[in-house]
């Protein structure tokens, strides 16, 4: 019997003194009594500890059916717990359902407007899909407006921006990550400070510069603007990622005689695939909804983009809300599908963006 396991309240030895038998008996009885009391106390404690542990376990696992000792009190306790959890969960489900109704309301309404007869918002029924069903707006989009042309222009601009951004930013990021050269620090600091300005602050100057290089009302002019606007932030982003790729890889490639360009394209670029994909997607989606420069630079109707075209449907002069919804629906579907499919990746990459640097 080690010291710690000792029953509390009982001394190890009864002092041996010269006492009478009656006294001896009395002492022995007292001793037995004490032992009994102590044992009871210990048992109670163990029971309490067990109960506590059980309740934690059930709280953690969500299983309230487990009772260590099926006493009346404990069953009652568990039923109460289970009931409370049920109420709590029901409440949460109701709450989440209400929120999703608010979240979905405008979207459902917009979808229904795309299929309802009538032109302006005042002509649509207040109940989604309550005013009849028609696809005439989609027919009008393709027959009476330049929708298809706008779609094509936007696609060209986005693809161009995405490709050039990936190429320019990843090359520059590689150089910033792996080479030492004069003015490296100044250029990197400049990029960081330039990155806070929305590019339309300098829109008048950009307009004049494009005028000088004959790039007004042209798609490549737009690509140049978007590309330049993308560079500062994204170069930093890709550079930070490339810093985390071990240098041993490119050193090995160099020892094997690979040139810088070869090392970049066959070693670094594949390693940086996640961030490159992210960059490609972000720079592809940006131009779809950019409005300011598209409005300023692309003057002719044939060269317009979707954002400007769609916006023109709902200005004061032309109140074609249903046509707008039909056009918006076609653009929004691929966006939504993409986000829903990639939501898991999105969660981790957004968290990654937070943890990095």
């Amino acid at each position: 019997m080690t010291n710690s396991e000792k029953t509390p309240g009982v001394p190890d030895k009864i002092p041996e003194t010269k006492i009478s038998d009656a006294e001896k008996i009395k002492l022995a009885e007292e001793r037995a009594d004490r032992v009994e009391r102590a044992t009871k106390m210990a048992e109670e404690r163990a029971r309490a500890a067990k109960r506590k542990a059980a309740s934690f376990e059930s709280a953690a696992s969500g299983d309230y059916g487990y009772a260590p000792e099926p006493t009346k009190t404990l069953t009652y306790y568990n039923t109460l717990q289970r009931f409370r959890t049920r109420v709590y969960k029901t409440f949460i489900v109701i709450f989440l359902t209400l929120i999703s109704l608010v979240v979905l309301y405008p979207l459902i309404y917009a979808v229904s407007a795309a299929f309802s007869p009538g032109r302006s918002i005042s002509a649509t029924s207040i109940i989604p899909f309550g005013g009849g069903f028609t696809t005439k707006h989609f027919v009008r989009l393709f027959s009476e407006t330049n929708y298809l042309l706008w779609f094509k222009n936007t696609l060209i601009i986005s693809a161009g921006t995405s490709l050039s951004t990936v190429l320019v930013c990843s090359l520059a990021a590689y150089v910033f990550s792996r080479f030492r050269f004069v003015f490296k620090k100044s250029i990197m600091l400049a990029l960081l400070i330039l990155q806070i300005f929305p590019s339309f602050i300098g829109m008048i100057a950009i307009y004049v510069i494009l005028l000088r290089i004959n790039g007004l009302d042209s798609l490549w002019g737009m690509v140049l603007i978007y590309l330049a606007g993308n560079i500062p932030y994204n170069t930093w982003l890709v550079k930070s990622y490339m810093d985390s790729i071990p240098r041993a890889y490119d050193e090995a490639a160099r020892l094997d005689g690979a040139s810088s360009a070869r090392t970049f394209f066959s070693i670094i670029l594949p390693q940086a695939k996640p961030i490159i994909t992210f960059l490609a997607i972000v720079s592809f989606t940006g131009p779809w909804m950019e409005f300011i420069f598209a409005k300023l630079i692309l003057r002719s109707n044939e060269n317009q983009t979707l954002a400007v075209g769609l916006f023109s449907f709902v200005t004061d002069r032309k109140n074609e809300f249903t046509l707008f919804c039909a056009g918006a629906l076609i653009v929004a579907i691929p966006f939504v599908a993409f986000f829903v499919i990639t939501q898991k990746v999105l969660v981790s990459s957004l968290a990654g963006a937070g943890v990095k640097e």
Binding site: L107, I209, S240
Partner: protein
Amino acid sequence: MFTLDRNGSSRKKIFLASLLFMGLAHLVFLKQYIKGAIFAFIEIVVLVTSPFIVRIIGGMITLGEPKPGLTVFEKDHSMFMLIDGIIVLAVLFIFVSLYAISVRGALSTYKEFCALGQLPSYKKIISEMSTKAFPVAALSPLVVLILFFVVVPLVFSASVAFTNYSSPDHIPPNNTVDWVGLDNFKTMFGGDITWTGALGRVAAWTLIWATAATVTCYAGGMLMAVIMHETKLKISPIFRTLFILPYAVPAVVSMLVWQNLLNGSFGTINRTLIELGLMTQETTIPWLSDPTLAKFTVVLINLWAGFPYFMLLTMGSMTAISKETFEAARIDGASRLQVFKSITLPSVIYQTMPLIIMSFTHNINNFGAIFFLTGGNPVVADSTTTSAKGTDIVVTWIYNLTLNLQKYNYAAVLAVCIFVVLAPFAIFNFRRTKSFKEGEL
């Protein structure tokens, strides 16, 4: 005279020669003929075009003379002169940088000579140039684009703040523009009661807006993430997918839909409320046409559009907290609230801090959320003079000033203000980057 000493005494000679004429040291002392010839050629080009350069820069200083007798095409166009001047300055900046590079290159070659006792062989120069060619080629598109499409426009914008480039009296090519010093700043900051009042109003609203938008979206997103993380419902993924939708739909689309739904007289929301008997035709809620209510509506709709981003973000960073931490807290007897308060919240905030700051700066510049939802409306007392309406933030005001009112000078003053306000945030974010901490920069 053209020989070099190994003991470092010829350093001065090299330095002066390379400074005197770009590439001279390379040609005369270091026998790097190709490199020297290229440098010398660049300097010759600059020298040949120098009268032109001087003329352009002179034009930038004078901004042209009014020439009443001439036709529009022959008059001085002040703004073209200003931009051309800035572009030439940018080119000169590149030239000076190249000059610095050539001087440093010559000196480092000489240092090598002192150490090795011989100039680098022809073969070595070629191989060195080919390794250096890659970074130069890779960086030049970036430098050129940034210089001409980001730096030049921003410098132009900042310069315009010191001119009187504005409608109706100073719009080229009919009239010239002049430098006016700090006059625009004086007008905006106290000189003119209308403009100062508008600036104060818009600046205050911009800050309130950015703070409210960031805080509501962050709190809303975190609430959703925690609820779904804690309850572990089987149907949470469905809810999560639904909640992502506002983030997935492009802002132009969703904001324009909201604008129509919230329209005071024929918007769906007010019509629905009338049908439900909650109000009558006369008592409709002016969601977007009452200056105060419109501000609340804008923040609320932005919450609708912005909470999914922070929900995803919080979910992502909550999965990064180790499960052991939660279990340990549970065993110690912590309640749900305690776990949230002392474990989830601090670690999520710590991880998402830079993104909160980025979101704040993004909201200061959040053109789309305001422009497509309200267009800056409703009109307030000073709107006809200043074009700043009830819900306009600084960036949408800049847009109005530029495209509607053509008060480019005041728009430029606002751009400078944005720089002053946002620069500290950029520096803060810079100081906590890994490369800064590791002393690389």
